[in-house]
Symmetry: C2
Subunit: 230 residues, 2 copies
DNA sequence: CGCGATTTGTGCACGTCTTCACAAGCGCCT
DNA sequence: AGGCGCTTGTGAAGACGTGCACAAATCGCG
């Protein structure tokens, strides 16, 4: 499930604050989900909480980390060292949560050779050589949209089977390769949509405006989708 | 719907390449979704495509932009000018897609006064004054997790009703305030999960491993969730 | 003017996800 | 040792999203 990482983060928080066990209710609150949903998710894991007590925090962390495949520190290749790529390369949240940025690439010779956070930016053509030296399973694309598909193809060619794409475009990849997309502008647009909806509702509580304002009733949006990641 | 922004991006692409009309099939491909799904989404909009021809690209763009509330250029306040905040402040994808970064804030006096992309970083205590001068509807939080909740409270206090949260923590906000969360590490962990699953499947096609490896059948993950944002 | 090719809009069925509610189990206290 | 309160795990019902398949509508061409 896509919620497991959120549980994991909440569990780490709890562990740091000295909790040894958590109830499903407590963990659900910390992760921002329903307690029944959490219990069902955890039961699918085969994880055993003890009734009347709750879940063992440390044990649960181990289990979730195992299922997520975080027992091995996965090597990540980051392509595109522009504005966003720079930030990603320097983001310590990756290192602290089971990932290691193994190499930085860019197509711009201007940027090749630059050192970021102890890593030297290499030219994208070096990708096959680097991939041969250490197994890279995950690629992060932080290039402009025009370059993204080409980079994706190159990543796939050297055996990368999971891609995190920050470029605003859809990637076509062969079957078996997973792509997740994060588009910052889209996130804002979704918020803007909610803003617009809220404004319409307060301005004209029941009156039908123009044909465009109407939103024929089908567009009722899910209430309070608070704190849901991707 | 959360897919509207994706359609919009695809439509802009099509418009730039000279297309006047699109079939649902064509647009669906460009946006990476099923054509039936796209038609259903668009019909909810009340948008009229013409049968036998397709959709008018320009008209559809206008309609979607209206529904998303992009006819007005919304002012965004960005709080936290660290590694990620820097990148966000410099990201031109915001400006080009209907948003204007109106102000930058940070709690660190060290960073106050710094100029990024033509904007001067102000201290977070200035937030009420700035918010009084121009209406800010959307706030972006790019602070460490420890500061995120406090910042969120401050944003809500000055009337912000939509928050985009990059900090790895859940925010509690009053009803009527929308929060969207983007956690970069979680995205990677989800990919790692798929990697782990793929590796387990190829390594032991039918053999049951340890109790932990078992994944009692219920954990079948959605196949090919390619190119889905958020 | 009529016909065929094409494409939208949608009814229907299916599978998934979510939530409630409750039985089963565990520990603690007396 | 027994009972009581608390918590997990899960069955069932309902909401929701998805995709197929087809009728209705429109355009172009002869």
């Amino acid at each position: 499930m896509a919620r497991l990482p959120e549980y994991l983060r909440a569990l780490h928080n709890l562990a740091e604050t000295g909790h040894e066990t958590v109830s499903s209710e407590g963990l659900a609150n910390a992760a921002g989900v329903n307690s029944a949903k959490l219990r069902k998710d955890l039961s699918q894991l085969g994880s055993y909480g003890t009734r009347g007590v709750g879940y063992d925090v440390g044990l649960l962390i181990d289990q979730i980390e195992y299922v997520l495949g975080l027992t091995q520190r996965r090597a990540v290749a980051l392509v595109g060292v522009g504005n966003l790529g720079h930030a990603l390369a320097g983001y310590d949240g990756f290192a602290s949560r089971g990932f290691r940025i193994a190499a930085l690439f860019d197509a711009d010779q201007e940027r090749v050779g630059e050192e970021i956070n102890g890593l030297v930016v290499q030219h994208i053509d070096e990708l096959p050589r680097v991939a041969a030296e250490e197994s890279i399973a995950i690629g992060v694309i932080a290039t402009p949209a025009t370059a993204a598909q080409r980079v994706a193809d190159q990543l796939v060619a050297v055996g990368v089977t999971s891609i995190l794409n920050f470029a605003p475009c859809v990637l076509s990849v062969p079957e078996g390769v997973d792509v997740r997309k994060v588009d910052l502008a889209i996130e804002l647009q979704i918020l803007s949509f909610h803003e617009h909806r809220k404004a319409s509702l307060t301005a004209l509580p029941a009156a039908g405006g123009s044909a465009l304002t109407a939103l024929p009733g089908g567009l009722a949006v899910t209430e309070s989708q608070e704190a849901i990641g991707t």
